[in-house]
């Protein structure tokens, strides 16, 4: 063959062109994944958080103002930033999602590693979890200190947050322990030096403190970036294959346990929620307040089933055609799901047993909450099966809302929580305990009837529900 006639690709892009293309791709992806629903949810949560902040300030505003008056926060901002490094890093490890390795469709194109690494650096700059903390600090700093200091503090905290974000990205990009270890060691050294520096800088003028910390963080970012550029990773799909241990014989109730154990997303979200509830419950501050004790006990007992119940038949949606073509009725699925919820409630109640050793007077409260959760809350969750969306249980995302639905019913589900909170706040605890016990027992007695009705509705609307699941 005449070599002159072989026309290799003319599209040899330089790094800037590649970056441009990658950014376009990134923007297109974000645009196409954008959903107004998510914005609404964000606003919804932001509103509630603001409301809580406002109420706290309204309640303790004078005290806070007196405290603020006597403290010059710019003197301590470096120390505060150093204190945030560890929680910030953990948060990113859990929540942050990264672009780390080129997908095959990019890898097979003329995209240089330099351009790709720059792109990673850029996406980290725009990452929600990397800018959340700096923005939060900017708002607080603008309130607590002069504007110039607030802006400097923002830059410093952004760099700290960016370093953590880049470290997490690098950890994910590193293939094998030998490449991950330097990052972990480097990060620990960063944490130690950053903490030491923040103590050593106390006494210097705030501007000098912040500027030194900015330079320190910038140097650390450069080191981390250079190391990340050296990392090479292949999409070895085989390495992702996990070895399964058989844990059930495929029984109809066992399937629910397997979903929980193997579905990283469901497992993580449930465990985190229970952990938060337990931390609150066993915190010495809560011991003093019966209302809070009741509320956190209630959350601990019912959250596991509440968390899973909110997905309805989201997991089953993955193999819904298989289910609907087998002699395995929706009624059975719902009934086994309900029994599984009961088991979860019982397990989480066991976590409250140590609490009873300290507060034996809480026995009646916990028993009534358990009965209420088993009978009423679990039944209350079941209609979510009518609104289920397919849930990818292997996804690691805790904070993406795929599979969760925001139907009016999703919000209605929160009503029992508010009712319980209000009841414990305003009514005699004994009255509340008796009421919820009766309600729970009544609901439990009627659960089969309720499930029969629900599965009838499901079957009647099955085509629409099944089409809507995907």
């Amino acid at each position: 063959m005449d070599k002159k006639n072989i026309n290799f690709s003319d599209h040899q892009l330089n790094n800037n062109d590649v970056m441009h293309e990658l950014i376009n791709l990134y923007i297109d992806q974000k645009k196409r994944e954008f959903r107004w629903k998510d914005v609404f949810i964000f606003i919804y949560f932001a509103f509630f958080l603001s409301l809580i902040g406002f109420l706290v300030y309204q309640e303790n505003g004078d005290q806070i103002n007196r405290m603020i008056k006597n403290i010059e926060f710019e003197n301590f901002i470096v120390l505060i930033a150093a204190g945030c490094i560890l929680p910030d890093f953990i948060t990113k490890l859990i929540f942050k999602h990264d672009v780390t390795v080129m997908d095959d469709y990019l890898k097979t194109k003329p995209i240089s590693n330099t351009a790709w690494n720059r792109f990673i650096a850029l996406t980290n700059t725009l990452n929600f979890w990397n800018i959340l903390l700096p923005i939060f600090f900017l708002i607080v700093c603008l309130w607590l200190m002069p504007v110039a200091f607030a802006i400097l503090s923002f830059i410093m905290i952004f760099l700290m947050s960016y370093f953590n974000g880049l470290a997490v990205t690098s950890l994910r990009k590193a293939d094998g322990l030998e490449y991950k270890m330097p990052i972990l060691i480097g990060w620990v050294v960063y944490l130690i030096f950053s903490s030491l520096l923040s103590f050593l800088l106390i006494g210097l003028t705030p501007v000098v403190q912040i500027l030194i910390d900015i330079v320190f963080n910038a140097v650390c970012i450069c080191c981390m970036y250079l190391y990340m550029c050296k990392l090479k990773r292949y999409n070895e799909y085989k390495t992702r294959v996990s070895h399964a241990k058989s844990i059930s014989s495929g029984s109809l109730i066992g399937i629910n346990f397997i979903i929980l154990l193997r579905g990283k997303r469901i497992r993580t979200s449930m465990l985190i929620m229970v952990l938060v509830c337990l931390l609150q419950l066993y915190s010495p501050i809560t011991y003093e307040q019966l209302g809070f004790m009741a509320l956190w006990s209630f959350f601990t007992v019912c959250f596991p089933s509440f968390m899973i119940g909110q997905f309805g038949l989201g997991v089953e949606a993955n193999y819904i055609d298989g289910v609907m073509t087998k002699p395995y009725s929706i009624n059975e699925i719902l009934r086994y799901k309900y029994y599984f919820f009961i088991i979860l409630n019982l397990i989480s109640t066991l976590l409250l047993v140590p609490l009873l050793l300290i507060h034996v007077d809480l026995l009646m409260l916990i028993v009534s909450i358990l009965i209420f959760s088993i009978g009423f809350i679990n039944i209350f969750m079941l209609p979510m099966c009518l609104f289920s969306k397919r849930l990818d249980i292997f996804g690691s995302a805790f904070f993406n809302f795929q599979g969760a639905n925001y139907t009016p019913y999703s919000f209605a589900m929160i009503i029992p929580f508010f009712l319980i909170a209000l009841a414990f706040a305003f009514l005699n605890p004994v009255v509340v305990e008796i009421s919820i016990t009766v309600l729970g027992l009544l609901s439990f007695a009627l659960h089969k009837l309720f499930i029969n009705k629900l599965s009838e509705i499901f079957i009647r609307r099955r085509y629409d529900i099944m089409e809507d699941m995907f």
Partner: protein
């Protein structure tokens, strides 16, 4: 168990994707369903399995409307696509699950699985992998075995030869034929593979743009030439 279709219509938007006035698949028949992409083969199977709503007409299985009486589920084995598989199960767990829902004892499941050893080729059982981690070919095999494991009276398979290596295609064709012959299972398979379809089917239905354009007797493979000519004329 026969399957009957009466005035079955499925419409998406303003497009009629399936319109079959009348069709009877008699008990014990092995029927192949062929047609170009978009002909309505999968839609027809999904309607027979009551997975989507018919906009007109109905399907009966053993003289019962499939959307009103669900007894057909206890004797029908089917596999269309990945939505039939439980991704977070290992194949053993999946087969065991099928055993549970069809009330087949683990021992029987185990002995029946042995029949499928040549198809599984030591790549499915004992691999300690979740179904999601298998290749498309092996997922296809798991789905087909899952459908056949119950020794169904009616077997519906959509593109059973897809993703399979040549020897596995031959084994699947042989297993389908064997099941139909030995158990009298009524079989309906859709496929683009004219060779296999005409080799094993006793009757072949040709769908085009949602309409049943040919209903061919295929005793001794006599329909293959007509089908080949038909598709060649479309080129």
């Amino acid at each position: 168990m026969n399957i009957q279709i009466c005035n079955l219509v499925k419409v998406y938007g303003d497009k009629t994707v399936l319109n079959i006035p009348d069709l009877l698949i008699s008990s014990g028949e092995l029927v192949g369903l062929v047609g170009n992409n978009g002909a309505g083969k999968t839609t027809m199977l999904r309607l027979i399995l009551d997975l989507i709503r018919a906009d007109g007409g109905y399907v009966t299985s053993n003289d019962w409307k499939v959307n009103e009486n669900f007894d057909w589920k206890s004797y029908t084995g089917s596999f269309i696509d990945g939505r039939f598989l439980i991704d977070f199960y290992t194949p053993e767990e999946y087969f065991s699950f099928i055993g549970n829902v069809y009330k087949i004892s683990p021992d029987i499941i185990k002995s029946r699985l042995e029949q499928y050893t040549p198809l599984m080729h030591d790549e499915i059982l004992g691999t300690k992998k979740y179904i999601k981690n298998f290749s498309e070919g092996n997922r296809q095999k798991i789905g087909i075995i899952g459908a056949m494991l119950i020794n169904p009276k009616v077997l519906l398979l959509d593109e059973p030869f897809n993703f399979l290596d040549p020897s596995s295609q031959m084994i699947v064709a042989k297993l389908i034929k064997q099941m139909n012959r030995d158990l009298g299972t009524t079989v309906l398979i859709s496929s683009h593979n004219l060779n296999f379809v005409s080799e094993i089917s006793s009757r072949i239905l040709l769908l085009e743009k949602g309409e049943l354009v040919k209903d061919l007797n295929n005793q001794d493979g006599i329909a293959e030439k007509e089908l080949t000519d038909y598709f060649a004329s479309q080129v």
